[in-house]
Amino acid sequence: MKLFTHLLTGAGLALAVSLSAGAGSAEDIKIGYVTDLSGPLAGSYTPTWEGFELYMKAANDAGGFNGNKVSISLDDDGLRADRAVAAAKKQFEQEGVVGIFGLSLSSTQGPVLTETRKAGVPVATSFSAILDALPPAQPYTYSTGVVFEVAGEAIGHLAQRIVPNGKVVGMTFDSVGGRAAMRHNMEIARKLGYSWDEVIFPIRTSDFTPFAQTAAGMKPDIVVGHYGAGQNVGMIPALRAAGYMGPYIIASYGASEVTAEEAATLAGSPDNIYMVSRYVPGTADAPGLAALKAAAEKYGVSDPNSMHVTGWVLGMLAGAALEKCGADCTRDKLDAALASAEIDTQGLTGGPITMTAGDHYGPTYWGLYKWDGEQLVQEGDWLRRDAIEIPLQQ
C-alpha cells in the first residue's frame, strides 16, 4: 500500500532528523529528564515529573537562574533499561544537557548510571533511589528519593507510634527492592520487640485475596505494605474483606494521598489507614506548598499530591545547584554544586536536604500520616534517619 510506505518513510525521516538535532536557544540551560511515562508505573512517575516541571516553569517565570531559563528535554523509558540508556545518551551526547534528573524504577537505573558516570554527567533521581547515593557516595549520583533500606527502617520505627508491641506482618511483592525493605523493616521490628511474619507474592498478581487472607490469618496487630501505589489499592480492600480491620501502613514508594483515598473508598471505611512518606501531601500545612500550588494552578495541574511534592523538591535541588553553578554552567560545576547542596525544603519534608562530598543522600525525614476520610494528617513529629546508619550489603 502506497500510503503505508509513505508513512514509513516519514517516520524514518523524522528519526533521521532527531539524530542530527540539537535545537534550543543557545542561552538556555539544558537539563534532561528520563522517567517512565507510559509503562506500568507511569501512574506514580508522571505526577513526580509534573512536580519537577512545575518548579522549573515557576523558576523560568521568575527569570531563570543567573539570567538563563531552563529548558528540559523529556524522554520516556517505558520502564525498560535499554530505552532509559538510549534516552540518557541522546540527552547528554546530542542535546548537551548538563545534568539528568528523574529516572524510573531502581532496576533501570544501574545501566543508566554506568553510562552517565563514564560521561561525567551528574544525575539526581526522584523517588526511586538506589544505594549508590548513600555513603560512600558514587560520583555523579544524587537522590532525593526513597531508598528501600532506609524506608524499611523508618517504617519499623514509626510503626511503634501506632501499635507499641505485638505482631507485624510485612507484605511485599517478589522484587529485590521490596525484599530489601522488608529485611530492614524486620530487623528494626525485632529489635523493638515485635514478632514478625511476612507474605511475599508475585509481582504480576491481579487478585490479592489469597495473600490478604493469608496475612489476615496470621492475626497481625499491624500490617505494612512495601510495594507501589497500585498494590495498596488492591490489598487494603482485600485485607478488610478477609477480616483484618487493624492498622495498615502504606509505604510510600510512589503512593500518595490519592492511593489512600482510593483504597479507603474501596475498603468501605477510612479507618486505620496510615502512610509513611518522606514528603508532605498536597493538603498539608507547609509554607513550601504555597509556591507549588500557585504553579499548579497556573499550569493546569489539579490537586497536587505528595508525588508532585516529591518532584518539586527534586526541582528545588536542581534549581539550587543550577543557581550555584553560575552563568556558564558545566557538568563538573553542576556536580560540585550538587555535592554541596543545602536546601531549605520549607516544610515539604521534615528538614533540609543536605548533600556532602561523601553522602549524596543526606539525612532524611519520614512522616507518619493517618487518613481521616478527607486527607492525610500527620501524626507526631518527623522521624530523622541518617544515611550512615545503614550497613551496606554489597
Binding site: 500500500m1 517516520a11 517505558g78 531502581s106 538506589i130 529485590v176
Partner: protein, 357 residues
Amino acid sequence: MSPVSPFLQRSHAERNRLLPEPYQRVLIPLLVVALLALPMLGNSYLIYLLNLTCLAVIGAVGLNLLTGYCGQVSLGHASFMAIGGFVTAIAGETFGLPFWLAVPASCLVGAAVGFLVGIPALRFRGIYLAIATLAMHYAIIYLLTSYQTHFEASATAGISVSSPSLAGYVLSDGYDWYYLLLAVAAATVLFGLNLTRTHCGRAWVAIRDRDISAATLGINVPAYKLRAFVVSAALAALAGSLGAYFHGIVTAEGYTLELAILYLAMVIIGGMGSVAGTVLGAAFMTLLPFAVDAVGGLLPSAWRLGTVIYGFQEGAIGVVIILFLLFEPRGLIEIFRRLADYFQRWPFRYRELQSGG
C-alpha cells in the same frame, strides 16, 4: 556473459548462490563499507542505536529460523535470551570465566535447554505450540527470578556484569562494541543464510508447509524440528549473553513476554522465511520507539497533551503489527524486492526471462 536472470538456474551451485542477483553483488559490499566507515561520523547516539540493532538481529535471525523457516511458532524466545544472560552473568561473576569462554558457554547451555524444550514441543503444532512455549517461558523466568532473589542480594536489582575484555583489550566504548557486534551479527546472518541454502533449510520449509508430506518424502521431521529449536535457542542465548555484557546488568524482570512478542514482530514484519528480511525487521522494530519519539518531538509542545504521547509509543508497536499483517503480510523484504524489481526492469513493466543483450 554471466547468467542474466536469477529465475533461470542451470545448476545446483547457481541455485545456492549467496547473492544471486547482480545488484546485490554491488549493494552488499557497499553496505559493508558504509557500515564500517560509520563511526567516522562521530555520532555516538547513532552508533548506540546500531549496536541495539545488531543485538536484535542476532536474536531475530534465530527466531526466524525456528518460526519463519520451520514454522514452529515460539513465544519463548525471551526466556532463551534470559538463560543466555544469566549463564553469562553467573559464569562471569561467580566463576570468573572470561568473555571468550562465557559467551560460548551460554550458547551451549541455551542449545541444551532448546533441546530439552524441543522434545515435548514435537507433540504440538500451531497455536498449542505457541501456548506451550508461553508456559515454558513463564516457568523459566520464574526459576531465574527465584535464583536472582535468593542468591543475589544487590539492591540495584540484578547481577552486574563487568565490561568484557577480548585478548586483553577492554570493551568499554560504544565504538568498540560496534565492531564486535557488527561482526557477530554479520556472522549470524551468514550462518542463517548458509543453513537456509542447504538441505536443512529446504527440509524446514517443507516441514513448515506440510509436515505430513515432508515425512512421506523421507525427511526426519522430529530431528529437523529439534535442530531448529536448538539453533534458535543457541542464537537467542548468544544475543542474551552479548546483551548482558553490553547493558552491564542482568535482571529476570527484563526478559518479558513483551520482548518475545517484539522479536516475533521483527520476524513477521521483516518477512518470514527471509534472513535479509529479518535484518530489516530487527532494525525497524528496534528503531520504532525512537522514531515515534522523534515524530512526537516534532509536534509543537501544546499538542503533546502532557505525557499522553508516550502512551501512543506503546500502542505504536501493536498498530504497526496490524498494519503490516493487513497490508503487507510478506513483510518489509517484499517492499524491498518490489523496489529492486522496479529499478531492475525500468522502464519496462515486467521482466523477461532471458535478456537480449
